[in-house]
Symmetry: D3
């Protein structure tokens, strides 16, 4: 059976921390689907199609990485695409408590799915999408926090 993992998130925007987690997870899985969760009630800061194009550019040379937009529960999307693994990065202990709750509830909803965690690199620990948006909103240099294939100022 192929080892398929979902890397779910809103990625508003995708950061160097996200990119690092996916790149390091490539050897672990046959396929990684970066799943951009769409929330019909909440418009993002960056357009969801733009977010998708940005992430595709980052992984243009990684044949086992796909980028998709999905709606609904992550576990339902896992079933749909036959993924048995959810991939997540861990930055801080606050992250951990949140991820543990989500991971345990996902496991209760779909017992065949397992969440696999990698650490973020030390130099990326402080970087979150919300901080990047805050910097960008006030005209700061936010490009240093996203992969070089992306340009937030356009």
């Amino acid at each position: 059976m192929k080892k398929i993992a979902i890397f779910p998130g809103s990625f508003d925007p995708f950061t160097v921390g996200h990119a690092s987690v996916v790149h390091r997870a490539i050897p672990l899985f046959d396929k990684i689907i970066i799943g951009i969760g769409q929330n019909t009630n909440k418009k993002g800061f960056y357009d969801i199609q733009k977010r998708k194009k940005w992430i595709e550019a980052v992984f243009a040379k990684s044949p086992t990485v796909e980028v998709k937009i999905f709606e609904g529960l992550t576990v339902d999307y896992c079933k749909k695409v036959d993924a048995r693994f959810i991939l997540r990065g861990l930055r801080t202990s606050a992250d951990f408590e949140y991820e543990r709750a989500i991971g345990q509830v996902n496991n209760a909803l779909y017992s065949d799915v397992e969440t696999v965690f990698l650490l973020t690199r030390p130099e990326h620990t402080a970087i979150s999408s919300s901080i990047v948006r805050e910097v960008a909103r006030h005209g700061g240099d936010a490009n240093q926090f996203v992969p070089k294939e992306m340009d937030l100022t356009i």
Copy 2:
């Protein structure tokens, strides 16, 4: 003097974790009032009267448990119903830091009130009202996270 405790919350919805805390606290108190806090500025996800009926069904056979809706500060409601104890469940260390701040401020506002904590059971640690709402909103099986006397799909 009778030992009266308030178990305050929005209970939107009441979960198996909440139910477990109250059931285990019954031997400690002469009366437990489950106080559903009403926020006039924020409508809940589930109707507040429905929440009250659900909780009453869960404790139909527990004569020392009452369910009430209240507005305003929890300590003011404690004074009104002569409760000297506030009952809370603890799930995670993030919970703890939040509860400690609330407990200390409540004690500053009304020095006769003491907050009493029980642990949630390990299998309930991940379950919060907000996660249950998220699952329900996306059509997942949320009933496994609430007491069997409740049916979120109706």
Copy 3:
């Protein structure tokens, strides 16, 4: 059935934080047994009989508080003295994680026992037996951290 609680610890020494937790718990229980755990492999900093006398002095006017020395698992001592509750104070989130593990294991070993937590008062949050020993060992004024009925310099 009488509500009996054990407040277990090594109390080497008993601190103002410990005293505050027990005093505030008195209204909750018919009897509180302060159980000084004896570890045959590890001699304490203060003599265990001295620790017992100190705590007895602190609660000389509290008829429902007893002080005992016990060996072995806390849950086994609970069974022996018919206690259904273990009382503990919570200071910090590090405390909480440790206490949660102990509480859940105790519950697995003896399902009739429930751990009840009170918060330490803000001004006692920093005070632990190990810090008091450290201050005393170096000749600092450690008496400010213990109840006035105790004198660590004797």
Copy 4:
């Protein structure tokens, strides 16, 4: 070179905890600018000019403390007023994780700026602007949580 620090926040309202941090930091710096961050998209609970007047009253006798309103990123304001230090108080470990992320991002944006932390006093650990607003909103006695020069009921 003069040692100038910014103490940034929304101070909605300023609390005894904030006041204590600034008073204790006065000996460390030649000048402390209390910077009230203005968010054009979000009106505060208390009027921003009122917040400024309140804080000025608290530090009326402290010649090295100034109160200013600023917009945009804190680091950009630091550059503008030639401040090399950001002053922050730390209450809890949840605070710490948040502050560490902000501090590291600020340092990435402006490498000449250093964040300096003081602890809040134990009796102020539970007090945050959001808890004070919540108490005030429900008619509780919120004045005990703010400096005596302020009166939230006016």
Copy 5:
């Protein structure tokens, strides 16, 4: 290239929590080496050969799991057996902070190695080798905390 993971620990003793992590990781790796770290300065509570036999019994039917005793740094053992992954379970946020430090230092020492984390199951969160030893030392029923193939009373 084969995906080889080390699951390092002292396993004094191996618990149901450890077993669960390894069983769930089997689909991720071509080979998992459970590496019992030997500390020449510190004798364990259970004999290291007994620990090895116990773990071998637990995984008797899992052909991709091996059990080895090793000395020295985990990363040096990784190089020796050509393992690019270190497998670890995460129970609590205290665990997480410790594991993050170890993981980042391991990565600094050997940049080709990546630490992969799985969550412990909620019912195993409280179980650690040190708590199991403590229960066993006092004659409590510690067998409920270890895999059924093991018997701590022998």
Copy 6:
């Protein structure tokens, strides 16, 4: 009055993280005394005179930094050398809880002393003296974790 800070620790050994904190604190204080705490009951891993020489080499070009060995409580040493500030680095939230307790107790023992915290740099967050000793003990390359003026292999 001169601003004198103590940076206390066992520094067994001094790390790049320690060095970074002191270097960044130099602009804040008129004098920084790096105080190596001597514990007469516990011999360190590295000789205390060697530790002192190493640190002196690191700050050979920093005229306001002194290195001293002291015994007893840090606050007593502060009084002796007329220091009103204790300088500490913060790495993780576990660090923070420990430092907060020590800081509050120090303040209770000597109300004129204030603890000032700087963040460790992200790339140093994982590095502690105990991890460095562990790496050195097993023959790993520990020199990458200490300032270039030090050589742990000699």
